[in-house]
Amino acid sequence: MYRYDEFDHKLVAERVEQLRRQVKRRMSGELTEDQFKPLRLMNGLYMQLHAYMLRVNVPYGSLSSAQMRKFAHVARRYDKGFGHFTTRQNIQYNWIKLEETPDLLAELAEVEVTAIQSSGNCVRNITSDHYAGRAKDELEDPRVYCELLRQYSVLNPEFSYLPRKFKIAVTGSPHDRAAVALHDIGLRMHLNEAGQVGFEVLVGGGQGRTPFLAHTIREWLEPEHLLSYVEAILRVYNIHGRRDNIHKARIKIIVNQMGIDRYRELVEADFERIRGSALKIPQAELDRINAYFAPPEYEELEDISGELAALRAADERFDRWVGANVAAHKVPGYSIVNLSLKAPGRAPGDMTADAMDAVADLADRYSMGEIRVNHRQNLSFVDVRQCELHTLWQKLEGLELATPNINRLSDVVCCPGLDFCSLANSRSIPVAQDLSRHFIDVDKLALVGDFTINISGCMNACGHHHVGNIGILGVDKRGKEFFQLTLGGSSDEGASLGDRLGRALPQEDVPLAVEAIVAAYLDIREEGERFLDTYRRVGIEPFKEAVYGPSVVRAVA
């Protein structure tokens, strides 16, 4: 993992002291709330319905066990004993005291974690594939470029006051686990005809009230020019992006108003001007950062596939778990293990301090001390010996972190919703809880297979409902909570936005509607088809009939 150098330490320490002074001025009344708000937001401190909320960065979703233990400590010492992992690979604390925030941030700095730029109109946490550096299908570890972009964008004075927030995602694999097409800039590593690694650069993707899939602005970019090209995109946005209307201020709006061809012309012109500048990445710097992400020393392990098959055959529950929660590793004898934060009835992404400590201990014992956070609000151990899978599974079961549902029906993603968020129109967590309790039969989860459900409590789409196979959007109808379903969304390399199914439903009908959609899918799917494949083949009508037909759930006009 990347380690801070002396400059990083100094910068973070100064930032904490700066906030300490700002908090003091706020408490004394020298700063009004309106004056203080942009200052606290630059340090990830929001005001929510019940208290201050602090969003802490987990750069590209990679955590050490020491950092996880610190998260547990913060949850106990400064919060109510839990934290919430978000769809942007970060962690949020919901019950923070203003007066304690500087001390909290000073403690996080001890393990090289910050909340800098986790909010505000600036470049936010750079997100990535949670299997980065370990995925079997990966070309190169994308975290090297994420870290370069992090260092480039943190406190970059030119881009500290963009028209609106700015999100960048990077993937090094053809199978996109980082949702790059839904970001302001998406970087997708691939090979050119000469077999060299470079980036397809996408721009203008995003969700919210006006969702767009990103356009390809450049088919192939040499990695040494990554910073120059990103700077050109940011500069054109900074100049042309709208500042008069917050709902039209994201880059997706200007790219789609201007047209991708015109936007590309402007970017390419600026890129030509700066490509030979100091932003050109020297190989020595790439090598320096690369060294931090060097793979651990793997053992040469014997093939135990026969043994593993026997264990799976002997224990159906273990078999289900391996089938759903374990992924291929690029090194023989090792696996990637996904920890489900979606046990039945649980709030997606929530984790107690005790569970965080337990996960840190397991990471040390079974996965070389590293943990990943993914945008579906689960965690991963990325270096597990296959011969230890069975033991690890038993321990995870004891912690209720082994529900065999990764990318299955009950692996529901949801935002905090109206239970916590001041922007939300409706609650979302209770809907997720209903669904996870409704789809409790692990055999059925396996039968249905890949299936994503995403819930957002408002149009801001923090629960990524636009790209759920089933998306659920909470809406307020005359003061009551209702839920609008969309079908056919996807965030992978074949990204698509969901289509609206029909009229909104009351909360109690949502599980029945999902059940009806699943039943229709099982009825009409062809051999090997995922829900998404079936949906794309047959369209929305069979599912509309299943939900709104005469014998099914009641819909509300």
């Binding site: 408490m27 709330e33 319905l49 019940h50 201050y52 007066e99 609650r427 967590i429 307020d476 009551k480």
Partner: protein, 115 residues
């Protein structure tokens, strides 16, 4: 513009003033004698326009005194002697979160549809 105008509630039916405490952001209600209290049951219910305006002036003073921020009126009904916000959002502020009743103020049946 005064908060009374900003939040558009000049003609109170039954209202209370809700705000956030500066030091920890927790939800508070204006109580008697300018006190800011955690429990909705201890807050003052306002029924007359002149009372509302006077109490909002008290709230504004507390903003200036760095005790609270963002005060505004909420509509409430009183049922069986208990105060109930009429909007979901304010019910969640007063009694929630609905999903972690171990951490919330409690006192609300979340299975009942909020009016």
């Amino acid at each position: 513009m005064s908060p009374v105008h900003r939040h558009g509630s000049r003609v109170p039916n039954m209202q209370m003033i809700i705000a956030s405490r500066l030091t920890d952001g927790r939800v508070v209600f204006l109580g008697d004698g300018g006190a800011w209290v955690d429990s909705i049951e201890c807050g003052v219910v306002l029924e007359k326009e002149e009372d509302a305006a006077r109490r909002m002036s008290e709230a504004e003073l507390a903003v200036t005194d760095n005790r609270i921020f963002d005060p505004y009126f909420i509509d409430v009904v009183v049922e069986d002697g208990e105060r109930r916000p009429t909007k979901v959002r304010e019910a969640i502020r007063a009694f929630g979160p609905s999903v972690r009743t171990d951490l919330s103020a409690g006192g609300w049946d979340w299975h009942v549809q909020i009016r």
